[in-house]
Symmetry: C2
Subunit: 229 residues, 2 copies
């Protein structure tokens, strides 16, 4: 599904300073895999996720997604891929503040041309599946941090995407709620072969994936089985 | 330092629905204590922290802080208390997006009337103490999630407040960086008798406090020693 070769990413700060962040990432992920990514704060996890999610382009290297060279896609095609193929849970949630939880979750469907009524029906079902049905009418600032995070997860899953990229999706959740969320990812992975790439800094969460990739200072230092026992 | 009696908090949603969140909180915390608060997502932790931080007022009950009944303070006095006495690390960081990390950390000092030059000097020292000296000139969107969280922590500590309220300050941090942050809190607590109230959902972090308060559905269900071994 995913074939990343020689990916580098450099930023340039306003001061004109060059900040190299990823230094040559090679990664091949097959459909249906469940991969955890771990690494220190600042090691490049979100940067890599943004490239995998077609939200950012690498400075060098090649990214082939479902057989397509992503750098060859035009903006409209890229947007379609992001909408239909990829579900992204952002580290900072990125909910739209003036829309209700329901309409935030319905947004990808509306963007795909689904009728507003049907989009809301499916969004409501998704919120109920995640235990937040009663919060459908709330605005993001009327939700707790963990509730906002779960609305962002519901939004990422509502299109039933082939690939879910989840950037620290349980960072604001207590242990029990975290496990319920991971149960959902595991279920979708096992039953619908949804490919899951999950950034986490909690070893217990990473242990529930099949494969672990460790990132350190912008390079992969481990790529193998998740649980060692 | 803190005396909370009979605190309740109800919200009213736009639909006019009454949402009772805190149902009678009694809590007494002495100067120099290190308290962890745990509880499920949605149990009311941030709501309680906002009341303790004088950012929100309770629906009923009394809050006495350093001998003053908070409800009797006028807006200007409340703002002064928040600025000088309390350092708040928000669950969502709340950094100002158009200011650099340095100026975000300097802001409480500037607000207290410290000269811009001196405020920046102290802010830079605070950032270096937390390991982020080289990021002083970055904007928040040029920082990783965990780096933004640490800038928020630096800002909370820069006034050397008597009370630090930290709402999930390690939620976006890897284990090693989390421990470094908690080391800083422990040091300030032991050496400068800074009172620390820390919301966390990670048992390992909570175990580093002296006292643990568990919140469930808006009531305290446990208030005692943190580590049981
Ligand atoms: N403005 C509001 N209007 C209505 N309900 C609200 C509002 N703000 C918060 N709530 C509700 O109050 C409850 C407690 O919220 P709070 O943010 O205190 O939870 P929390 O314990 O901090 O959760 P988390 O661990 O997810 O951060 C939640 O169910 C939330 O939906
Ligand atoms: N726009 C930018 N300009 C300059 N540097 C940036 C920019 N965005 C990110 N960085 C830097 O790139 C590095 C990697 O950032 P990234 O967000 O990928 O880290 P991360 O592994 O996700 O960290 P965390 O665990 O804290 O979320 C960081 O040192 C960060 O400061
Ligand atoms: Mg990140
Ligand atoms: Mg909270």
């Amino acid at each position: 599904l995913i074939d990343v070769a020689g990916i580098t990413k450099d930023y340039v700060t306003p001061g004109g300073v060059d900040v190299p962040v990823l230094h040559g990432i090679d990664l091949a992920i097959r459909r249906g895999e469940f991969v955890a990514i771990m690494g220190q704060s600042g090691s490049g996890k979100s940067t890599l996720m943004n490239i995998l999610g077609c939200l950012d382009s690498p400075t060098a290297g090649r990214y082939v997604l479902t057989g397509n060279d992503v750098s060859a896609l035009r903006d409209g095609q890229l947007a379609a891929v992001r909408n239909k193929t990829i579900g992204f849970v952002f580290q900072g949630f990125n909910l739209l503040k003036r829309m209700t939880a329901l309409d935030n979750v319905a947004l990808p469907l509306a963007y795909a041309g689904v009728s507003k009524r049907e989009a809301r029906r499916r969004a409501r079902a998704q919120l109920e599946r995640i235990g937040l049905g009663e919060f459908a009418g709330r605005l993001p600032n009327q939700l707790s941090g963990g509730q906002q995070q779960r609305v962002a997860i519901a939004r990422a899953l509502v299109m039933e995407p082939a690939l879910v990229l989840a950037d620290e999706p349980t960072g604001n959740l207590d242990t029990q709620t975290s496990n319920e969320i991971i149960d959902i990812f595991v279920k979708l992975n096992r039953e619908q072969h949804m490919t899951v790439i999950l950034v986490t800094h909690e070893p217990d969460i990473a242990a529930r994936a099949d494969r672990l990739v460790r990132l350190k200072d912008g390079v992969i230092t481990y790529d193998g089985p998740a649980a060692t026992g």
